[in-house]
C-alpha cells in the first residue's frame, strides 16, 4: 500500500455517510418485493393476496429496523449492502410463497408427510431472526478487530460445526444437517463465517513466514514443508467432509475460501497453483470411489440420459425450467418450476427465478449477487487493517463461491451440490448466517469509510508557509 490510488472508498475528511442513499434504496427494495407479492396473487388467484399488508408491513419493519440500526451503529457503512440483501430476502419470500401455492407441491407433501404446511411464514420468521442477528452483530461488535481475539476459538467452533453432521443421519444423501428436536440446522453455513475469521487471524500473523520463507523452484516459490501444514490440514478436512458427509458444495467452498485468503495474505501465486493441484487431486480421488459424487457428475454430464432420469430428474427439470422461462419469463406464478418437486424452494429456487422472471430476471438477480460481492471486495480494498482486509475478502469470496457453486449447479454448468442460494432460498441456517455475514461486512466497511480523525494541528505549519510578495 505504498502507492496512493483512488480505488478505495475512503473519502476525503468529510466523507458523506450515504445513509439517506441507503434509505432510498431500502424503500425501493421493499417496494419491489411487495409489488412482486401482489403480482403472484393476481396471477394465481386473480386478486390481491390477503396477506399482502401483513407481508408488506413485516418487510418494512425488518428493513426499517435494520436501516435504523445501521444509521445508529455503523453510520459510515457501505450504503448498498443492506438494500441488496433486503431485496434478495424479499424476493426470496415471494418465490417461496409462490411455491407454497403449488398444488403439485402440496399434494407431494401430503403424500410424503401426511400434512402440508406452507414455508413462507417460517421463512418470514427466519428472516426476522436473521435481521435480529444482523442487529445483534452491529450492536455488540463495535469493531471487527475484536474478532481477532477469537481466532482459535473460531477454529475449534468451526471444526465442531463441520464434524457434527457426521453423527447425524443423512438427509437425502448428504450429511449436512444437525437435528435437535424440531429444529435442524445446516452448520456449514455458520462454519463459513467462523472459518473466515480463523483464517484472517491466523494468516495475518503467519503471512510473512508463509510468503517469504520459501525456495524458488521452476519459477514458483515453494513453501517450506512446515508451512504446508495448515493448508494440508484444511485440504484433508475438506476431503473428509466430501467423503463422510458427501457434501460437494461445502468442501469446495472451504477449500476455495482457504486458497483465496492464502493468496491474498501471501501475495504468492504458487499458493494458487498448489491449491488448484490439491483440489484436483482430491476431487478426482474422491470421485473415483464415492458413488454419490459419481452420480452427481454423471447427472451433470448427461442430465437427460435414461440412467440419470431414473435416479433423479432434478437437473433435467431445472434445465427445462430455465428453457421454458426464455427471455422474459412466464411471469410470477405462471410457470411450472414446481415440477422440480424436491427442494424446489431451497436448492433449486433459482430455477423458479429463471422460469418466471426469465433471462432478464436471472441477469438482474445474478448482478445483485455480483454487486454484493463487489461491495465486499471494495470493503476489503478500503479496510485499513490486514485483519479487516482478509476477513472482508474471505467473506465476500465465500459468498461469491457459494453463489457460483449453487447457481452453476442448478444451471448445469458444474455438478450439483447441496447448498442454498444466499437469502433467496428457503432455510433458517442460510438466512441467519448470511444476515450475520452482511452485518460483519457492514461493520468492516463502516470502520473503513469512517473519516480519519483530524490531524493534530502542527505548530510548524505557519513557519514553513511560502509567502509570496
Amino acid at each position: 500500500m505504498s502507492v496512493v490510488t483512488n480505488t478505495t472508498t475512503i473519502g476525503a475528511i468529510d466523507a458523506p455517510s450515504r445513509r439517506n442513499t441507503e434509505l432510498m434504496m431500502m424503500v425501493f427494495a421493499v417496494a419491489i418485493s411487495v409489488f412482486a407479492y401482489a403480482n403472484v396473487g393476481l396471477a394465481m388467484d386473480g386478486k390481491l393476496p390477503s396477506g399482502m399488508f401483513g407481508y408488506g408491513a413485516g418487510l418494512i419493519l425488518l428493513g426499517g429496523v435494520a436501516h435504523l440500526v445501521v444509521r445508529k451503529f455503523a453510520p459510515y457503512a457501505d450504503p448498498l449492502l443492506l438494500p441488496l440483501a433486503t431485496l434478495l430476502n424479499g424476493l426470496g419470500l415471494v418465490l417461496i410463497w409462490r411455491l407454497d401455492q403449488s398444488p403439485r407441491l402440496i399434494q407431494r407433501a401430503e403424500v410424503l408427510y401426511g400434512a402440508y404446511s406452507p414455508d413462507a411464514p417460517k421463512q418470514l420468521l427466519y428472516s426476522a431472526i436473521g435481521v435480529a442477528f444482523f442487529v445483534a452483530v452491529l450492536v455488540i461488535l463495535k469493531d471487527h478487530r475484536i474478532l481477532q481475539r477469537y481466532t482459535y476459538i473460531s477454529m475449534v467452533a468451526a471444526l465442531i460445526l463441520l464434524i457434527l453432521p457426521m453423527f447425524f443421519p443423512a438427509v437425502n444423501g448428504a450429511k449436512i444437517w444437525i437435528s435437535l428436536g424440531p429444529f435442524s440446522i445446516q452448520p456449514g453455513e455458520f462454519a463459513k463465517i467462523l472459518i473466515a475469521v480463523f483464517f484472517s487471524g491466523y494468516l495475518m500473523v503467519k503471512r510473512d513466514a508463509l510468503a517469504l520463507a520459501s525456495r524458488r523452484f521452476m519459477g514458483l516459490y515453494l513453501p517450506r514443508g512446515r508451512d504446508l501444514g495448515p493448508i494440508i490440514t484444511i485440504w484433508a478436512l475438506s476431503i473428509l467432509i466430501l467423503v463422510f458427509e458427501t457434501d460437494l458444495g461445502t468442501s469446495l467452498l472451504f477449500f476455495g475460501l482457504f486458497v483465496v485468503m492464502l493468496y491474498v495474505a501471501t501475495e504468492r501465486t504458487s499458493w494458487i497453483v498448489f491449491g488448484l493441484l490439491m483440489s484436483a487431486v482430491g476431487a478426482v480421488g474422491v470421485a473415483s470411489f464415492e458413488p454419490h459424487v459419481q452420480s452427481r457428475v454423471n447427472a451433470w454430464l448427461d442430465p437427460f440420459s435414461k440412467a440419470t432420469m431414473a435416479q433423479s430428474d432434478q437437473i433435467a427439470q431445472s434445465l427445462m425450467s430455465f428453457g421454458s422461462g426464455g427471455t422474459l419469463g412466464t411471469g410470477l406464478g405462471q410457470g411450472h418450476s414446481d415440477l422440480i418437486m424436491f427442494a424446489a424452494n431451497a436448492d433449486f429456487i433459482l430455477s423458479t427465478v429463471g422460469e418466471e422472471l426469465g433471462l432478464a430476471g436471472m441477469m438482474a438477480v445474478l448482478l445483485i449477487y455480483g454487486l454484493i460481492v463487489e461491495r465486499g471486495v471494495r470493503t476489503a480494498l478500503a479496510a485499513r487493517d490486514p485483519f479487516g482486509k482478509l476477513l472482508a475478502i474471505g467473506l465476500s469470496g465465500a459468498f461469491a463461491i457459494q453463489v457460483f457453486v449453487v447457481a452453476g449447479g442448478v444451471m448445469g454448468l458444474i455438478p450439483l451440490s447441496g447448498m442454498t442460494m444466499p437469502f433467496l432460498a428457503y432455510g433458517g441456517s442460510s438466512v441467519l448466517a448470511n444476515w450475520a455475514l452482511i452485518a460483519i461486512l457492514i461493520r468492516i466497511s463502516d470502520t473503513a469509510r469512517r473519516p480519519a480523525p483530524a490531524p493534530a494541528p502542527s505548530s510548524d505549519a505557519e513557519m514553513t508557509q511560502v509567502v509570496r510578495p
Partner: protein, 485 residues
C-alpha cells in the same frame, strides 16, 4: 495486499460472468430445444390446460373435452365414436402423449400455433379465455361408417379417396380401439393402455396407413399400366403372346393361375378380368425390374406419404428376374399400404393424374376464421389420359363380368380389381383379401377405395377379394355417392 485483492475481484467477476453467460445460453440459445423435449411435461400440461379445439368431420366435431379434477391437467380429451375415428384422429392422452392428427395439429388444437399469434394477442387484451382452434377434415362420415360397419369384427383396413382432389374420404382400421379409455392420467387409463399395447391383434396399429401387405392381384393394375405406358401393348384387346403354363424365368417352376381360366394369349382386358397370373408375370418380366420400379414409383411406391399423418412407404423392390415376375402380380417382396392401393385406383379413375392425398381441409382459429385451406395438388402423372381410359375399361370389365361383380352398383359405373394375396411361408397362412375400385357418375369420379381383409373367419377356400372385400368397397362407394346427391 491490494494487488491480490484486485485479482480476486477479477476472479469473482469471472465467476459471475460465467453464470451470466450460462443463463444466456440456457434461456436464449437452448430455450427452444429444452422446451420441445419429450421429457418436458409443460408441453402436455399446456395441451390440456384449456379446452382443446376439435377435429371436425362433415361439420360435426368427433372430439370433445371434459373438465377433470387432476391437478396437472385441467381438461381431458374425449371422442365420439372413438374406435371408428381413431385411425384418423389418433389419441391424445395425458399420460401417453398423442399421435396422428391430435399430435400433428397440436399447435392449432391447443391454440399455441404461430399462425394463431394475432388471435392470441388479441384475446390477451380482450381478456378472453384461451381456446384452441379447430381442424376440419376431408372425411365423409357416411363412408367411414359404411367401411367400419363393413369390416365389422374382421381384421382389415379401408382407405377411400376422392380421385379428383386427393381428399381422404374414409380411413378405417379394425380391430380398433377407443382412445377415450386412456385419455386421462389414472391407473384405469394405464391399465387400458397396457392392455391395448399387449393385445395380439394390435388394435392401435393403423392398418390403412402403417401396415404394408402384399397387394396380390390388385397390383396387376399397376403392371397393366406399365405395359401400356411402355408400349408393350397398345390395344387392350390384342393377344399378349403369353404361354400357358408360364415358366418363371431362370427357374424350373411354373407360375400358376388360380383355377382353370382362359389365360393363354389372353388380351389385357381378359387377363385382368380373369386375373391371369401368367400374363402379368410375363409382362413384368418382359419390362424388367427397372421399368416396373419406375411405374410403381409414379404411383407413389417407395416413398412415405404425408396426409399429413405419415403413411409407411409401399415397396416395389429391386430384385432378380423371377422375383420381379412375382412382384408384378403383387407377390414376393412387393408390399403396399391400403392407402397406396387406393391411390392407384384413384389415379386410374382421374384419367392418370395422381393427386396428393390429404385429410386436413381447413384449420380454423378459435374465432372460426379460416387460417389454412388445402389447395389440391397433383403428385404425379403415372399414366397418360388415353392409357388411363383404357385401364378404366379393363377395370370396369372386371366388375361388370369378371371377378368383381360383387361391387356392382345400380346406375353407377364401377371399375375394380380383386386380389387374394398369399402370405406366410409357402402360403401357409390365410390369404389377404383385397379389392380396389372406383365409382364414376356423370359428374366424374367421386370415390376410389381400397379394402383389405386380413383373415376373415371364413374358410380358407372361401377367401377371395371379390367375396370378402368387394361388398365393403361397394358400401363405401355407395355411401359417398348417396351423400353427394
Amino acid at each position: 495486499m491490494n494487488k491480490p485483492l484486485r485479482r480476486i475481484a477479477i476472479f469473482c467477476g469471472v465467476l459471475i460472468l460465467a453464470l451470466l453467460v450460462r443463463t444466456n445460453y440456457l434461456q436464449y440459445v437452448r430455450a427452444d430445444e429444452l422446451n420441445s423435449r419429450d421429457e418436458n411435461r409443460r408441453v402436455r400440461i399446456e395441451r390440456y390446460a384449456h379446452e382443446r379445439g376439435n377435429i371436425i368431420v362433415d361439420g360435426n366435431p368427433v372430439t370433445g373435452s371434459v373438465e377433470t379434477k387432476d391437478s396437472d391437467f385441467k381438461y381431458k380429451r374425449v371422442w365420439k365414436n372413438g374406435p371408428m375415428w381413431a385411425p384418423v384422429t389418433g389419441y391424445s392422452s395425458q399420460a401417453f402423449d398423442a399421435n396422428f392428427l391430435e399430435k400433428l395439429e397440436d399447435g392449432i388444437l391447443t391454440g399455441n400455433d404461430d399462425q394463431l399469434f394475432f388471435n392470441r394477442t388479441l384475446s390477451m387484451f380482450t381478456g378472453e379465455k384461451k381456446q384452441g382452434g379447430n381442424v376440419v377434415t376431408t372425411l365423409n362420415a357416411a363412408a367411414q361408417k359404411a367401411a367400419f360397419k363393413g369390416l365389422g369384427d374382421k381384421k382389415g383396413a379401408v382407405a377411400a379417396l376422392d380421385p379428383q382432389t386427393g381428399a381422404i374420404l374414409a380411413l378405417v382400421s379394425t380391430p380398433s380401439y377407443d382412445p377415450s379409455t386412456f385419455a386421462g392420467n389414472s391407473t384405469a387409463d394405464s391399465k387400458a393402455w397396457e392392455k391395448l399395447s399387449k393385445d395380439k391383434n394390435k388394435p392401435m396399429l393403423n392398418r390403412a396407413l402403417r401396415e404394408t401387405y402384399p397387394p396380390g392381384s390388385t397390383f396387376k393394375v399397376v403392371t397393366a399400366a406399365a405395359a401400356l405406358e411402355n408400349g408393350l401393348y397398345t390395344s387392350i384387346d390384342e393377344h399378349t403372346k403369353s404361354p400357358l403354363p408360364y415358366r418363371l424365368p431362370l427357374t424350373t417352376g411354373n407360375l400358376e393361375n388360380e383355377g382353370n381360366i382362359p389365360c393363354e394369349n389372353a388380351s389385357l382386358r381378359e387377363a385382368l378380368r380373369w386375373s391371369c397370373n401368367t400374363v402379368f408375370g410375363k409382362i413384368s418380366d418382359d419390362l424388367g425390374n427397372q421399368k416396373m420400379i419406375d411405374q410403381a414409383n409414379k404411383f407413389g411406391f417407395n416413398k412415405d406419404v404425408f396426409t399429413p399423418v405419415r403413411a409407411d412407404a409401399s415397396v416395389y423392390p429391386k430384385d432378380n428376374r423371377p422375383q420381379n415376375a412375382m412382384a408384378g402380380i403383387g407377390q414376393a417382396s412387393n408390399r403396399a399400404t391400403p392407402l397406396q392401393m387406393a391411390m392407384v385406383a384413384a389415379a386410374v379413375a382421374n384419367d392418370g393424374k395422381l393427386m396428393q392425398p390429404y385429410m386436413v381441409a381447413e384449420r380454423k382459429a378459435p374465432n372460426l376464421d379460416v387460417i389454412y385451406t388445402h389447395e389440391k395438388e397433383q403428385l404425379s402423372q403415372p399414366l397418360s389420359g388415353e392409357n388411363a381410359q383404357k385401364l378404366q375399361q379393363m377395370m370396369e370389365t372386371v366388375v361388370k363380368n369378371g371377378t368383381g361383380t360383387n361391387a356392382l352398383i345400380n346406375g353407377v359405373t364401377v371399375g375394380g380389381k380383386t386380389g387374394t394375396a398369399q402370405h406366410g411361408l409357402n402360403n401357409s397362412e390365410k390369404p389377404y383379401a383385397w379389392f380396389i375400385s372406383y365409382a364414376k357418375t356423370d359428374k366424374g369420379s367421386p370415390v376410389a377405395v381400397a379394402v383389405v381383409v386380413e383373415d376373415g373367419q371364413a374358410n380358407r377356400d372361401d377367401i377371395s377379394g371379390g367375396g370378402l372385400a368387394a361388398p365393403i368397397a361397394k358400401a363405401v362407394m355407395k355411401a359417398v355417392i348417396d351423400s353427394k346427391k
